[in-house]
C-alpha cells in the first residue's frame, strides 16, 4: 500500500509537471500576444495596410507594446487599424505620436511603429485615432530607382558622345601631340633664362639706386649734394633778379619805343629821319662810299708806311712780340 501511495505521488508530480509546462507555454505565448493584462485601444487610418494582419506586433520606439487587434476597411480608400496597447503605455503615448507600418528586419513580419513626437501634447486616450505617416513601400522605392536608372543611362550616353567629340576635337589632338610637351619645355627654359636676365638687370638697377642714394655718379650728385642744391637755389634767385632787371629794362625800352613812336608821329627827330627821309639814305650811301674809298687809301698808305725804312723796325718788333706771346 505504501508503494502504491508513493507511486501515486510520483504520478501526481509527473502529471502536474506536464500541466505546469503546458500552462507556462500558453501563458508565455499569451502574454507575448497581449491576451492577458489590461489593454486599451488606439486606432490609425492608412491608405495601404501593406500586408498587415491581425496579431502583428505594435512597437513604441522599438519596444513591443501591443498587437494589431482588428483591420477594417473604412471607406474604399481608407483602412482602419485597431491596436491593443498595454495599459502601462497610457502614461507614455501622446496624441501627436505618428503611426507607420514597417517591417521587422528586411524581410520579416510587418509591424506597426508608433513614434513619439513631442512631450507637450496631451496623452492619448482609449479609442483615440493617431496620425499616420505614409510609408515608403518597396515598390515606390524601386519605381524611384527605375527613374534614376533611366536618367543615369541618358547621362551616360551623353557623356559618351561628349567624350567621343572631345577625342575628335582640336584640343584632343593638341593634348595628344607628343611634341607639345617638348615645346613647352623649351619655352619654359627660355622663360627661365629671361627671368634670370631680368633678375640680373634688377640687381644692376638696385645697385644703381644704391649708388644714387650713396651720392655716387651724376644723378647721385644731383640728388644727394646739398651744396649744389644751395647753388641751384642761388642761381634761381639770380635768374629771378635778372628777370626783374629785364623787366625794368623792357619798361625802359617801352618808354623809349613810346618816345620814338611819338617822335615818328610828330615827323621830327633822328628816328623819323632815319625811317622816312629817303634823301638821308642816299646821303648815307654816298658817305659810306666815301668812307670806303678813304679806308682803302688809308690801308694803302699804311702798307706804304710798313715798307718805309723809317717805320720797318717798329713793325718787325711788333711781329716778334706776337710770336713770343704764342
Amino acid at each position: 500500500m505504501a508503494t502504491r501511495i508513493s507511486d501515486n505521488i510520483r504520478l501526481g508530480t509527473f502529471v502536474l509537471g506536464g500541466l505546469f509546462v503546458l500552462v507556462l507555454l500558453l501563458y508565455m505565448i499569451g502574454r507575448n500576444e497581449h491576451l492577458f493584462g489590461t489593454t486599451y485601444v488606439l486606432k490609425a487610418r492608412f491608405h495601404n495596410a501593406q500586408g498587415l494582419v491581425k496579431g502583428n506586433n505594435v512597437r513604441f520606439s522599438g519596444i513591443q507594446v501591443g498587437t494589431v487587434r482588428k483591420i477594417t476597411i473604412e471607406e474604399s480608400t481608407q483602412i482602419e487599424v485597431t491596436m491593443s496597447i498595454d495599459k502601462k503605455m497610457r502614461r507614455v503615448i501622446r496624441k501627436d505620436a505618428v503611426v507607420s507600418i514597417g517591417t521587422d528586419g528586411l524581410v520579416g513580419d510587418k509591424v506597426v511603429d508608433i513614434t513619439p513626437v513631442s512631450l507637450i501634447c496631451s496623452l492619448a486616450r482609449d479609442g483615440d485615432t493617431l496620425t499616420t505617416k505614409p510609408v515608403v513601400s518597396l515598390a515606390a522605392l524601386l519605381d524611384t530607382l527605375d527613374h534614376s536608372g533611366r536618367d543615369i543611362s541618358v547621362i551616360a550616353s551623353e557623356l559618351k558622345m561628349t567624350v567621343q567629340r572631345v577625342n575628335r576635337s582640336a584640343i584632343w589632338s593638341l593634348l595628344d601631340d607628343s611634341t607639345v610637351p617638348a615645346d613647352i619645355k623649351v619655352t619654359l627654359s627660355n622663360i627661365r633664362q629671361a627671368s634670370g636676365r631680368a633678375s640680373v638687370m634688377a640687381g644692376g638697377l638696385d645697385r644703381l639706386v644704391q649708388d644714387m642714394r650713396a651720392g655716387r655718379g651724376a644723378a647721385g650728385i644731383l640728388l644727394a649734394d646739398t651744396v649744389l642744391a644751395g647753388d641751384i637755389r642761388q642761381a634761381g634767385k639770380r635768374i629771378r633778379l635778372a628777370g626783374e632787371t629785364a623787366d625794368s629794362l623792357i619798361g625802359t625800352l617801352k618808354n623809349v619805343a613810346g618816345d620814338v613812336q611819338a617822335g615818328v608821329a610828330k615827323n621830327n627827330g633822328v628816328v623819323h629821319a632815319l625811317l622816312y627821309d629817303t634823301a638821308i639814305i642816299e646821303k648815307l650811301n654816298t658817305s659810306l662810299d666815301h668812307i670806303q674809298k678813304g679806308t682803302e687809301g688809308f690801308s694803302q698808305s699804311m702798307e706804304a708806311l710798313k715798307h718805309s725804312f723809317l717805320l720797318r723796325g717798329y713793325f718787325r718788333k711788333q711781329e716778334k712780340q706776337k710770336k713770343k706771346n704764342k
Partner: protein
C-alpha cells in the same frame, strides 16, 4: 491471388481495429469505472516512460541545435537558432519523437502483456468470473496512454528546449533570459495547440493498437512476440498518418 488475400487481410484487420475502438468508446464512458487500475496504468505508462522520453528529447534538442548551427551561421542568422529550434521542437519533433518512443516502450509492453494474458486464457477466465476484462485491461490502458502521452510530450518539449539551450551555448554565448525570450517571442498558440491536441491522438493510437494486438494474438507464445512487434510497427505508422492528417486539418481550418 496472394495479393488479393493480403489486401483482404489488411482490410479485415482495419475493420477489426475500428470495431475495437468503437468498443472502447462504448465501454469507457459507462460506469463502473476502474479508477484504481486506471491510476496504476497511468503510473506504469506515464511515469515509467519519463526517463526514456527525457533522455531522447534532451539529445534531440541538443543535436538539432548543433546540426542547425553551421548552416544558420552560413546564412548569418545564428541568432535565430533558438527560435527555429523551439518551433521545430514544439510543433513536430517533440510530439513525434516522444510518441515513437512511447510506441516502442508502451505499445510493445501492452501488446506483450495482453497477448500473453490472451494466450494463457487469463482474459477468458476473467470473463467467466464475471469481471469485464475489456474494461479492466483495455480501457484503463488506452485511457492512460491517451492522457499520459500529452504530459510526456510537454515535459519532453521542455527538456528538449533545455538541451537546445545547452547546444546553443556549446559554441556561442546566449544568456538564459535571451534564449527564453527568443523562444517565446517566436512561439504562438498555433504552434502549441495543434501539437498538443495531436499528442492525444498519438497516445490513443498507441494504446488502442497495443491493446488490439494483444487482444487478438494467437498461436501461443510465438503469437505474443508477433503481437508485441506488430503493435509497435502499426502504432508507429498510425502516428505518422495522424501527423499527416493533423497538419492537413490545421491548414484547412487556418491554425497552422
Amino acid at each position: 491471388m496472394q495479393q488479393e488475400t493480403s489486401i483482404k487481410l489488411f482490410l479485415a484487420e482495419a475493420g477489426d481495429l475500428a470495431r475495437f475502438s468503437a468498443r472502447f468508446f462504448r465501454e469507457a464512458f459507462r460506469p463502473p469505472y476502474e479508477v484504481a487500475a486506471f491510476i496504476r496504468q497511468c503510473f506504469v505508462i506515464g511515469y515509467r516512460s519519463l526517463g526514456l522520453v527525457s533522455l531522447t528529447t534532451f539529445i534531440m534538442g541538443l543535436v538539432l541545435t548543433m546540426q542547425l548551427r553551421p548552416s544558420m551561421v552560413a546564412y548569418g542568422v545564428a541568432s535565430q537558432i533558438p527560435a527555429i529550434v523551439s518551433i521545430a521542437v514544439v510543433r513536430e519533433i517533440g510530439p513525434v519523437i516522444t510518441a515513437l518512443i512511447f510506441a516502442g516502450k508502451i505499445g510493445s509492453s501492452i501488446g506483450a502483456e495482453l497477448g500473453s494474458m490472451k494466450v494463457t486464457e487469463q482474459i477468458d477466465a476473467m470473463e467467466v468470473s464475471g469481471t469485464n476484462p475489456f474494461r479492466y485491461l483495455a480501457v484503463t490502458r488506452i485511457l492512460a496512454a491517451t492522457l499520459m502521452l500529452p504530459v510526456l510530450v510537454l515535459l519532453g518539449d521542455a527538456i528538449a528546449l533545455y538541451g537546445a539551450y545547452l547546444g546553443v551555448n556549446i559554441r556561442g554565448i546566449t544568456s538564459f533570459n535571451l534564449f527564453w525570450s527568443q523562444v517565446f517571442d517566436n512561439l504562438s498558440f498555433s504552434d502549441v495547440l495543434p501539437a498538443f491536441i495531436k499528442s492525444y491522438f498519438f497516445g490513443f493510437a498507441v494504446g488502442t493498437v497495443g491493446c488490439y494486438k494483444g487482444y487478438s494474438s494467437r498461436k501461443g507464445t510465438e503469437g505474443v512476440g508477433r503481437s508485441a512487434n506488430s503493435a509497435v510497427v502499426v502504432a508507429s505508422v498510425v502516428i505518422f498518418i495522424i501527423d499527416l492528417l493533423t497538419v492537413q486539418i490545421a491548414e484547412a481550418i487556418g491554425i497552422n
